[in-house]
């Protein structure tokens, strides 16, 4: 960046209007990432303004980071440069909603809560039960690629995003896909944008397939004495005709967190006492349907779980329990000033080994931990040290390295979802699989030739 901060603000004001530029250092603190404060923040209202901002940044070699409600800035890989924040919250229109076609087109700044309201009026929804639900924007949710417990049944965003419009690093407004449920016209460039953390482009519109609202939903929670037993239940469900909406395994500490007062701050819906048993592992399954379907699930699940202690939530209790489950990452971050969250995946048959490894590693390193393992084979492991001291950092660093190694050993994948900003540079970054790293670098170069957008996501495997 060669330009003076005041000049950045002046130019940006020319694009978005003076009322929508933030240049005051005190106000800019809200846009801080890893302790770095940008020279200015711009609040564009249209995709054309976004394109102009990106073009301006490209011409002046300014490093830009697009963002929504700023709930997941900690997930952005380590930033070397950060000159201009693009606050997308004014691009907040529902562009097109055709309830009878079950399709939706939205700008990225629309809060997920508002989308839920719009869809609920037509008895529809998006299966994005993601952390920070009550604050997050749809753009930030898609760009960060955070997952939802509902992936058990509905898959991830890649399975229901139909198309996108975005601005690439040189300021070009481009699109791919469309707004029909089946489409093979051209390359699926929008799939690259999901989870790209703003490193390939600034999303200006997302088209979704929507889904009919769920019928009456129940949550079945079995308190079991070991991870192994919970995983055995997971395998039994998968081998049965049941097709649950969610299926997760909670470590005892995760169950405790979801019942805690911290959790109540994140999702205020009251949850009945003792739903999540903190002294046990919990096997949590949700399902929806008619009375007969619910009865069938309950009967089969009870049979599978044998004599274990069961909690069954219906109605608002079910929503509350699922709300807590959805917010696990947010709750973990709230519960420890140094929370470091590692997402690990493995083939489902290796989940048991990976959970054992995680527990052994964290306990050996004396780092408090909690984990939620999704039945599809993804574990969200939260390391919850009590302080941010140097000795703690080193212990967490070694723990993360060993967790990544454990994933590698089991042919799984790892990613760091969050950690204290000042630790980011020193934690080992997960690497891309075998051969595709170079191709990803080339993709980054095409979308962002001068590297002005957030840095690429992956590092090279050494």
């Amino acid at each position: 960046m060669s330009m003076l901060v005041t000049d950045i603000s002046k130019h940006v004001a020319g694009i978005v209007g003076p009322s929508f530029v933030i240049g005051d250092p005190a106000d800019l603190a809200a846009y801080k990432i890893e302790g770095k404060v940008p020279g200015a923040a711009a609040r564009p209202a249209t995709s054309t303004q976004v394109a102009e901002l990106v073009k301006f940044a490209a011409a002046e070699k300014l490093a830009i980071v697009p963002m929504g409600a700023r709930t997941k800035l900690g997930m952005i890989p380590s930033l070397n440069r950060y000159d201009l924040a693009i606050d997308m919250t004014r691009l907040d229109r529902v562009v097109a909603y055709d309830p009878d076609d079950l399709t939706l087109g939205v700008e990225p700044g629309v809060p997920l809560g508002r989308i839920a309201g719009v869809l609920a009026a037509h008895k529809q929804f998006l299966p994005l039960a993601v952390p920070f639900l009550n604050r997050a924007t749809v753009g930030g949710t898609i760009a960060s690629g955070v997952d939802s417990p509902l992936r058990q049944f509905f898959g991830t965003a890649r399975d229901y995003v139909l198309g996108m419009e975005f601005v690439t690093g040189d300021g070009t407004l481009a699109k791919s896909g469309g707004r029909v449920v089946k489409n093979v016209s051209g390359y699926d460039l929008h799939k690259l944008m999901i989870g790209s953390m703003g490193s390939l482009g600034v999303i200006t519109q997302i088209n979704f397939r929507t889904f009919p609202s769920l019928a009456a939903t129940c949550v079945f929670i079995a308190a079991v004495d070991s991870a192994a037993r919970a995983i055995e239940l997971r395998h039994r469900v998968v081998q049965s005709p049941l097709r649950p909406l969610t299926m997760d395994i909670l470590s005892p500490r995760a169950a405790e967190l979801l019942s805690s007062s911290v959790a109540a701050r994140t999702d205020p819906n009251p949850i009945p006492a003792n739903v999540f048993a903190p002294s046990h592992w919990s096997f949590v399954v949700s399902y929806a349907g008619t009375e007969n379907v619910l009865a069938r699930y309950e009967r089969d699940l009870r049979q599978m779980a044998g004599g274990t202690s069961i909690a069954l939530c219906e109605g608002s209790a079910a929503s509350a329990a699922l709300g807590r489950l959805r917010e696990f990452t947010a709750i973990a971050l709230e519960s420890s000033a140094a929370a470091t969250i590692v997402k690990m995946s493995a083939l489902p048959t290796r989940l048991k080994e990976l959970l054992n490894d995680a527990s052994r590693i964290a306990e050996k390193m004396d780092v408090p931990w909690a984990a939620v393992a999704r039945g599809v084979g993804v574990i969200c492991c939260a390391l919850l040290p009590g302080d941010r001291g140097e000795e703690t950092r080193q212990r967490v660093q070694r723990t993360v390295a060993q967790l990544i190694e454990a994933c590698d050993r089991l042919s799984g994948n790892a990613a760091i979802l969050a950690c204290p900003a000042e630790w980011k540079g020193s934690l080992p970054a997960p690497a891309a699989q075998r051969g595709d790293f170079e191709q990803m670098q080339k993709v980054k170069k095409v979308f962002d030739p001068d590297g002005n957008l957030a840095p690429a996501l992956v590092s090279k495997r050494t």
Binding site: V293, S411, G412, V446
Partner: protein, 477 residues
């Protein structure tokens, strides 16, 4: 063709695995579309290492190279538009691993779609994408085209079922994309490569998800006295939030063609039927079937039949899946189109298709994935008659233009290939196409891999492409 290249290919693969005589190449001029393009040779690698070497040789000789599965594609994706080498994966047809516990299988690209489901049937699993040509088409072809099928309404298309791939880039570099475990770090390269129509790489290995077979299935046949009632039924099923596993429509013309061939029990005197599957838990299927039947009756279905048993269900589906073969018996040459529209636009679009048919003097048949809004108008024509092919293409173009006008797209599952590259500007502007071109050039910088596909070479829509005259029937879709 360069005799040195031919010699090198024969040395690499053996004489029997290289076809180059004109009479041997005839078959490879075609796929299931009306496109025609003759390769200079066809090679049959037996293993990944062969593919790597073939690609290196092609590179050295600067010769185009095109991957091919069973040749059932419907957009010319597996044709050698600029000549060169066709790499047939017919010999790379092994299921490499079935991991039933993790619901995954790893296959070579030449494995026939339905063979995988047969191979895993004993585990209660199946490979969900089910193109109508599933008894012939290959999983490699499905991956290239991101193929759909009737049951993708509930289960998703090919891309929703692919986890990882081994691919050979046009440089000869062998890389792996994605991983059998979920959420590989970085960009979704697997998602980018699936549906890239063989323009990024040759796929040599694919890891797919397997899906548990439902406990119960019910198949309904709804019979209508008007096409409009049938399409209105589909609109309402969608609007009511019912998601059948499949929802297919056949119009009267197609029904009569099918019935004469398959004897599926479709009534000969009606203008439209819907074939609808609901599946899931026993307790769920009953209620779903009743809800679907109610909507059908509300929209004046003359009769709603429920298949009594698996045999009747299979017969009804045989009728649907053999529709294209059946059409071949009454019109040896036809042009199968593939457009997609928002589902609420079905009634208007079918009316428009009928008008377009009248304008050009064709009786256009329709058999399609109604639940997805994915149309397959069939335009029968006689290539020996003056201007019939040109008129069929002109009619098809008008249909596709209408699909785009009402918010749809130029292809739902058949791919762009060499059939619709010139129509891409209907959907995408030069900035979109330019970015797609640059992405293609990352992997395929010299353009040797499947040239002349997906992206129009020239700017704008002005290029008039004249197809060679086809002289044979289209195989099944």
């Amino acid at each position: 063709m360069d005799s040195r290249l031919l010699h090198d290919l024969k040395t690499l693969l053996g004489t029997e695995a290289v076809l180059h005589k004109p009479e041997d190449l005839l078959l490879y001029e075609y796929d299931g579309s009306v496109e025609v393009a003759r390769p200079n040779c066809v090679v049959f690698p037996a293993k990944t290492a062969d593919v790597v070497e073939i690609v290196r040789l092609a590179n050295r000789h600067q010769t185009p190279i095109v991957g091919r599965g069973a040749g059932t594609g419907l957009s010319g994706g597996a044709l050698a538009r600029r000549g060169g080498i066709i790499v047939s994966f017919a010999r790379m047809n092994r299921v490499l691993e079935i991991d039933a516990e993790n619901q995954r299988a790893t296959v070579q690209p030449g494995v026939v779609n339905s063979d995988l489901s047969v191979a895993v049937a004993h585990t209660g699993l199946h490979f969900a994408p089910d193109p109508s040509s599933q008894k012939a088409c290959t999983i490699g072809g499905n991956v290239s085209e991101n193929s759909g099928g009737p049951h993708t309404l509930a289960y998703g298309v090919t891309t929703n079922h692919v986890l990882a791939m081994e691919v050979v880039l046009p440089t000869g570099e062998l890389i792996r994309l994605g991983s059998p475990a979920l959420d590989p770090p970085g960009y979704d390269m697997t998602g980018l490569f699936v549906g890239s129509e063989g323009t990024f790489a040759l796929v040599t290995e694919i890891t797919v998800k397997l899906t548990r077979l439902p406990e119960a299935v019910k198949t309904l046949l709804a019979i209508y006295d008007s096409v409009n009632d049938a399409t209105e039924t589909v609109v309402e099923i969608t609007a009511r939030g019912i998601t059948p596993a499949a929802c297919e429509m056949l119009d009267g013309w197609t029904i009569r063609a099918v019935e004469a061939y398959v004897h599926a029990g479709f009534p000969l005197d009606c203008p439209a039927i819907l074939l609808i599957d609901v599946d899931g838990l026993r307790e769920d299927v009953e209620a779903q079937a009743e809800a679907v039947a109610d909507v059908c009756r509300l929209h004046h279905a003359r009769e709603v039949r429920l298949a009594r048993d698996a045999a009747e269900r299979d017969l009804l589906w045989k009728g649907r899946k053999n529709a294209f073969g059946a059409v071949g018996r009454i019109s040896p040459t036809y042009y199968t189109q593939d457009g997609v529209i928002p589902r609420t636009k079905l009634p208007a679009t079918l009316r428009r298709i009928s008008e377009i048919g009248k304008k050009y003097g064709f009786e256009i048949g329709n058999v399609f994935h109604a639940g997805d809004g994915n149309l397959h108008p069939i335009i029968p024509f006689d290539p020996r008659k003056e201007k019939q092919l040109q008129n069929a293409v002109a009619a098809a173009d008008e249909i596709i233009e209408f699909c785009v006008e009402v918010g749809g797209a130029i292809t739902g599952e058949h791919g762009v290939g060499m059939e619709k590259d010139r129509l891409m500007p209907l959907l995408f502007n030069e900035a979109d196409l330019g970015l797609m071109r640059r992405v293609r050039d990352i992997f395929n910088p010299a353009g040797l891999l499947n040239p002349g596909k997906i992206l129009p070479d020239s700017k704008g829509c002005g290029e008039i492409y004249v197809r060679p005259r086809p002289d044979t029937a289209s195989p099944s879709a």
